[in-house]
Symmetry: C2
Subunit: 279 residues, 2 copies
């Protein structure tokens, strides 16, 4: 049937906050893909893999609203404005966010703006980089007999400082995962050292789950040097805890060193698998 009059939609416009996952474009859910397919507008962040925008073939607008290379593309207020403004003209506004929208995603501010404007709101969870990036390097966040919890902390709080929760986390037995904290690595090292954890293993993974993934493993006392030497930067995930030792590469090094030692004079206990001789 042809439509010769302008369409007037009677539907209530919806803001759908969609988790884009940690980087690998296949780590998005079926539900997220279906939501992108019916999107009229997509507002997307810097940490979103561009390949995902191809699912939104029917969208009239695809707007980049993220930060890149430290430049603030749009303020949170400006993003909120775009959401509600597009909501007056389109039915399905998708806000595509890196990782999971409810994990350090400033989702609440966008939800509040949309609800105030009379829009409906829906959440599609995503694979959080806090969980998936360690997994991609074979580091489980929990392991029976090793630990019973994991704690995810942001390194960048509203006032720009390190979260005071990290001081508490350092006293716990949890695997501690710190996001967006590369500029505060020295401070994190100090806090964990003060709580007797200078020998606790640490992994730092940059661009996890993508072909550019880069990982450094060390201990609290030497992780700053190792990260600097490897030129690691944000976006990176810092994982602190004994589970880091379960990483396969570490295990393999351990076996290798054991073989080397058996033909030398050292005892096995003297060599840490986390300190290869190259450093």
């Amino acid at each position: 049937m042809s439509q010769s009059f302008p369409m007037i939609s009677l539907a209530i416009p919806t803001l759908c906050l969609v988790g884009a996952g940690p980087g690998d474009p296949e780590l998005i859910t079926i539900k997220a893909v279906k939501t992108l397919q019916r999107a009229d507008v997509v507002l997307y962040d810097a940490l979103v893999n561009d390949a995902l925008l191809e699912y939104a073939a029917n969208a009239s607008k695809k707007v980049f609203v993220g930060k890149r290379y430290g430049c603030h593309a749009l303020s949170q207020q400006e993003i909120n404005y775009l959401i509600t403004d597009y909501g007056t003209r389109y039915d399905n506004i998708v806000r595509l966010k890196g990782g999971d929208p409810f994990v350090f995603g400033r989702a609440q501010e966008e939800i509040d703006a949309a609800l105030e404007a009379g829009m409906e709101v829906q959440i599609i969870p995503g694979i959080s980089s806090a969980l998936a990036v360690p997994a991609s390097e074979m580091i489980p966040l929990t392991c029976r007999g090793v630990n019973e919890s994991f704690w995810v902390v942001t390194g960048t709080t509203r006032n720009g400082g390190l979260s005071s929760d990290i001081r508490l986390a350092a006293q716990s037995t949890a695997t501690v995962i710190i996001l967006m904290a590369m500029s505060k690595l020295e401070e994190i090292k100090e806090i964990f050292s003060q709580h007797g954890k200078s020998e606790t293993p640490v992994a730092i993974i940059q661009n996890g789950t993508t072909p550019d993934s880069k990982m450094v493993i060390g201990k609290i006392h030497d992780i700053c040097f190792r990260a600097q030497h490897a030129e690691l930067n944000n976006p990176a995930i810092i994982v602190i805890g004994e589970v880091v030792n379960l990483n396969r590469e570490v295990m393999q090094k351990e076996v290798l060193q054991e073989v080397e030692i058996s033909s030398g004079t050292h005892t096995y206990e003297n060599i840490s698998p986390l300190c290869p001789s190259s450093l």
Copy 2:
């Protein structure tokens, strides 16, 4: 080309640990679906949505290995045996696990068994119920200005007791998410109360992200009564923290009560939005 001789595979058999997500069958990743499509054998848990098995149309075997209604279908050792035994006859063994395989999934024991048997191992992360179930009820795990971290703890440790980490978690400002802990709710209430948190909001969500989803909201001091009254049981997620107040239902009740109060003699501050008059 016809194949009249028995096939001898030269490929190294692979164990792929796949996250099935929190319950909603659309909350599985594209990568997980592709892995299921090429599976020869699928070993699946009780918390996996049966609809997901349809993706494994080419699999010769689909074996249920989980616990149901407290009955232990198979021990961990028996599951490990199945993985390695199928690995001698098939190339692609998929271990489909509820949520994320590296979050309280006993993945390490299965990985160790597979590696010892000379198999390769791959991990496909899943949407963890610890994150997605609160999200499905519009409870963010973090909110700028409310908290700076979240802590996921298991209620059931190797020795059957409550994790000692919960005592530490109660002292932090983190949103605390406790899995598989319905039988220890009274004990959790005691611990949080001892740390001055009897007024902290709590949500308990059973069968989250599925059509059978059921939620109760209260505070530490009355959550046991409310959960019992609503007949909530495992599998359930307990969420403790101020973010629970961001749940829309709570907010709506708050507005409703404000309207009721404005025509009565109470002041708004006297009424907690978490304590509706029905209780």
